[in-house]
């Protein structure tokens, strides 16, 4: 909390610019509407920090954090009204480092509360949703002047297309690497000779920098597309989604195979011996005993793979695979940081969502298994 306050007072909370190209002028908290307003706005956060030190923070702490979270969009509305010239249609407000840090600290506080208080998960999800809804409601009140929103409005269709591409690529990667990884892991269990070689190759591939791998695939695939025109017609060539998918699957294979293998091998020997001794057939043992007991660790592999693929897909935009990475690289090229954010923020949200949902699923199953 102290950190949040420090950021609030020491870093610019916002920047305002007359249009997209000009870098904005940094604005500090007390410059928005006078020091009094800034103190008022930081009050919930300060209180939350103070309450957290009390013996039983509990509900009061949650309430204050929530209040601060709700206050943030309202504060931005205030910024817009104070700083952005309504006469200029292109004028915009960038969200400053101070505000981002504050948001970050507030989210951390929420996370911290979550580990200390055993409230139902739904409560925390609600706590995250409420500020989002308020932000959406504030849009007509002036938040539409936020640079981020302006960037979005300019390419709304394109944005959703990119989200779709991104999800599709990640989905295909996870599905393919799950199928391939499971097959490979099963094969390795059957043929111990393959184990060392297999893991060696996979480990090696993991160490190739992603950009280099994308580059390496350009040549062979372009050549293949030239050789076999039907490949070209399918959209497979040196650039685009095909090499991206190949590279993504290559990276995903190691965590997938490793977790699947470890999961299947890790099942208690006594349980397997008993299953065999009771007269279960190979198939019955696999489906009724080994797989269910391996599932939590296996899902852990899916989680790692998914989160990793969401991030790597951004890089894949470099070879024309599409996805949200496009905005990041466009933004970088045009030095438009808000465009970068437009690409990066949804990736962050996706990764956190995938992490949370899959992690939860794995834990829930794990509870059933280790009971």
């Amino acid at each position: 909390m102290a950190l949040g306050l420090l950021a609030w007072w020491s870093l610019p909370v916002a920047s305002s610019a007359p249009n997209r190209i000009v870098p904005g002028d940094a604005v500090y908290a007390w410059q928005v509407a006078g020091p009094a307003m800034a103190v008022l706005a930081s009050l919930p956060m300060a209180l939350a920090g103070w309450v957290a030190r009390q013996p039983d923070p509990g509900w009061r702490s949650l309430g204050l954090v929530l209040l601060a979270l709700l206050g943030l969009p309202l504060w931005l509305v205030l910024c817009v009204h104070q700083l952005v010239d309504p006469q200029l249609p292109q004028a915009r407000l960038g969200i400053g480092a101070g505000s981002w840090c504050t948001l970050f600290v507030l989210l951390l506080a929420l996370l911290d509360l979550r580990t200390r208080q055993r409230w139902p998960a739904g409560l925390y999800i609600a706590c995250l949703c409420v500020p989002l809804v308020v932000t959406a409601l504030c849009l007509p009140l002036g938040l539409d002047r936020l640079a981020l929103w302006q960037e979005y409005r300019g390419r709304a269709d394109d944005f959703w297309l990119a989200v779709g591409e991104h999800l599709l690529l990640v989905g295909a990667t996870v599905a393919l690497s799950l199928a391939l990884g499971a097959a490979l892991a099963l094969l390795m269990r059957r043929l111990p000779a393959l184990q060392r070689a297999g893991f060696g190759v996979l480990n090696f591939m993991q160490t190739i920098p992603s950009l280099a791998l994308f580059g390496l695939l350009l040549g062979p695939l372009a050549w293949a597309a030239q050789r076999f025109p039907w490949l070209d017609q399918l959209g497979i060539s040196g650039i685009g989604w095909a090499p991206a998918l190949v590279a993504l699957v290559t990276y995903s294979l190691l965590p997938m195979v490793r977790n699947t293998f470890v999961a299947l091998e890790g099942v208690d020997r006594g349980v397997i011996e008993a299953a065999r001794g009771m007269g279960m057939s190979r198939g019955q043992m696999f489906w009724q005993v080994r797989l269910p007991l391996a599932l939590p660790v296996l899902l852990e592999g899916v989680r790692i793979t998914t989160v990793q693929a969401i991030g790597l897909t951004a890089v894949a935009a470099l070879i024309g695979a599409g996805g949200l990475g496009r905005f990041i690289f466009q933004g970088l090229g045009q030095a438009a940081m808000d465009l970068v954010l437009l690409g990066a923020l949804p990736i962050l949200v996706m990764a956190m969502l995938a992490d949370g949902v899959l992690g939860n699923l794995s834990r829930r199953l794990g509870r059933g298994v280790t009971r």
Binding site: D268, G270, G277, V289
Partner: protein, 314 residues
């Protein structure tokens, strides 16, 4: 009836079991004992083909075990192990019903059978049927393991140190219950252990193994009295063998009719062992005990000279 005929098992170059021949009659309680690594588990697992024997033949009821399909054979033979091997993701009831389910019994029959077995092993249906293995104590889990092994009512039960991980008191309770169960159900049991007291308490036939071979087999009392060599003697307890033998004999065996000297003050039940009688004498510092029946009525007398087995007229 189980018959091992000149059985040898080799793992690569080590010989785990070396030319073992053994005949276990129906309804017999056979204990395999010996130091760790002597081939007890290997011998046991060859009977249900968890391990394939390298040489020789194993017959069950006159038929070679290789004439059955592996899983069919195993479903006919109960199997219980030290780690219980209960499936952690299944409830107690589902664990017990495993083999009947594999045999495709109708559901109602499985349910009745599970209930029957749980009451047989002293597990209340209401308290335990829906529990998961990790919610059980070691003793309860092992009861479930035994119930699961008995589920499809097999004639033969193979047990590999099933009580090895339990505390002494729970272990003794389960030993007595198993002994009881076997007497009632008439199962053929092959039981591996390295706990000599356990083996002596349970076995009709005691098989002593050493380095993959059978050194001696027979009734526990016979082995105690006439050990084939020093190894068997020391394995059976060395100088402690007298006490171990006394533990196997009931007081009624050495009791004499009530004498003229009046009824002794200290009493002992006629079903108690001679070892317990000796302990009472030592503790109470007396040489005579009154032997009583179930209703606590004196029916005879045990004196020190008789207890140690000295002839009456010496």
């Amino acid at each position: 009836m189980i018959e091992l005929i000149h059985i040898t098992k080799r793992f690569d170059h080590t010989v785990a079991v070396d030319d073992v021949s053994l005949k276990i009659d129906g309804g017999e309680f056979c204990c395999l004992v010996g130091t760790s690594g002597c081939g007890k588990s290997t011998t046991l697992k060859m009977i249900n083909r968890l391990i394939e024997h390298s040489e020789g033949e194993i017959h069950i009821d006159q038929k070679p075990i290789r004439s059955f399909r592996e899983d069919v054979l195993r479903r006919r033979i109960g199997y219980a192990i030290q780690s219980t091997g209960l499936f952690p993701h299944w409830t107690v009831a589902r664990n017990i019903g495993l083999v009947p389910r594999l045999l495709k019994w109708p559901k109602s029959r499985i349910d009745t059978r599970v209930e029957e077995l749980m009451s047989l092993l002293g597990l209340s249906m209401a308290d335990y049927a829906d529990k998961y293995p990790d919610q059980l104590s070691g003793g309860q889990a092992q009861r479930v393991g035994v119930a699961r092994a008995l589920a499809a009512d097999p004639d033969i039960l193979l047990m590999d140190e099933p009580f090895g991980a339990l505390d002494p008191i729970t272990r003794e309770t389960l030993q007595l219950e198993l002994r009881d169960l076997q007497a009632r159900l008439g199962k053929t049991i092959v039981f591996v252990t390295h706990d000599m007291d356990e083996a002596l308490r349970l076995a009709d036939r005691l098989v002593v193994m050493h380095e993959g071979r059978i050194v001696q087999q027979g009734h526990p009392l016979q082995l105690l009295r006439e050990p084939a060599n020093d190894f068997v003697a020391s394995l059976l307890g060395g100088e402690d063998r007298g006490l171990k033998e006394a533990a196997l004999l009931p007081v009624s065996e050495r009791m004499v009719p009530l004498g003229a000297g009046g009824v002794a003050r200290e009493r002992i039940d006629q079903t108690a062992s001679l070892r317990e009688a000796l302990s009472v004498m030592l503790w109470r510092r007396v040489e005579r005990l009154a032997v009583v029946d179930d209703d606590d009525i004196p029916i005879g007398e045990l004196n020190f000279r008789r207890l140690v087995g000295a002839r009456v007229n010496d």
